[in-house]
Symmetry: C2
Subunit: 215 residues, 2 copies
């Protein structure tokens, strides 16, 4: 599955969980298309590729569809995530309510500053960086969100690799890269660079692309 299709599948999955939580039992390709920002033809094509077939004119039953997508996405129990760097963005993510419906749980935060990690009132346990490896192992954590300043990013990334982390969502402005380990990229890294996104939007405003249709 390519990354565009994966993006769509995760969006369908999120939308389905929300529709189910408000009591719906059936869904149509058009509903999912709206939620995922594509058109209904693409939804039907994706499902067909995955061997999922709807009822004639009847749409799809939500429950088996959710279960099938969960299986494809490798979802089971809650997925434990840690946050490295407990500044404003790290703290904001710790308190973000949008992870729960997707089974994502922030289980610990790490910082180098004793004034930060000794704050016992924080809703999520905080630890010094020196306990990274121990906590990752004990809580079976696979993914870290990196929200440290630019000058600490490379060093923290190396510490995460040494602690055997398998995925990193990087919010620091440094572009971090996976290593090729026996033909497989380790760890999986997604870089989110907010300033870069804004610059690209400025560029696209200045040089608008001509398009044919809305999708």
């Amino acid at each position: 599955m390519n990354s565009d299709m994966l993006t769509r599948i995760t969006r369908y999955y999120r939308a389905l969980n929300r529709l189910r939580s408000i009591g719906l039992e059936k869904v149509f390709a058009h509903n999912l298309a709206d939620a995922a920002g594509v058109n209904a033809v693409i939804v039907r094509k994706d499902f067909s590729l995955l061997g999922i077939h709807g009822q004639k004119r009847g749409g799809y039953d939500i429950l088996p569809l959710v279960n099938k997508l969960a299986e494809i996405l490798g979802k089971g129990d809650a997925q434990n995530v840690i946050i490295v760097g407990c500044g404003r963005i790290g703290k904001a993510l710790m308190n973000y309510s949008g992870f729960e419906p997707d089974g994502i749980r922030i289980v610990a935060g790490f910082d180098t500053d004793p004034l930060v990690y000794s704050d016992a009132s924080n809703p999520i346990p905080l630890y010094p960086m020196s306990r990274l490896e121990e906590v990752i192992e004990a809580l079976e954590v696979k993914i870290a969100i990196l929200t440290v300043p630019e000058n600490a990013a490379a060093d923290c990334f190396q510490k995460l690799i040494d602690a055997n982390i398998q995925g990193v969502l990087n919010f620091s402005p440094v572009t971090l890269k996976s290593q090729n380990v026996d033909g497989v990229l380790r760890p999986i890294v997604h870089n989110i660079n907010i300033a870069l996104e804004l610059e690209q939007i400025f560029y696209e405003i200045q040089y608008p692309k001509k398009v044919k249709d809305n999708n």
Copy 2:
């Protein structure tokens, strides 16, 4: 220019500004490749496509290169941005120091809650949503960062369109879409969905892709 190349160009531009700020005058394709997470062959190819040529074995002079890329990226004066939704993530972005080096300036925040927007101690002026159009016009704002809860996203997006905003960086979990206005997408929308990124990383960990080299 396609979006991958645009990403690289903005990364080169950022890296060059940082190198210049520490006193460097020359840069080599390899330096920029490291900063952008690609290899040097791609850097040289990008520059060649843009009509930028280095000196034989001498690399590139940073200053003219920065100016050329600034011209391509449409940069001039500071680029004014507003934040709609002053919760934890909105507030964290208001205090984020990573925008300044790129000439991005957060000039105002908006919220519907009087307890939030009447906080005079905030470093950036806060306004009620009802003043959106007026402030956008007065401060010549082109881009808004949307950090509202899921259930407010669609409504705020429509208000931004009505207030003539040209670009939106959306952090809410709802996927927002541009409209096709006479063959051009308006406004430009980039959706950053943090839960979705985490889910994709979980997926990629479970089903690792085979790769040939590091780039």
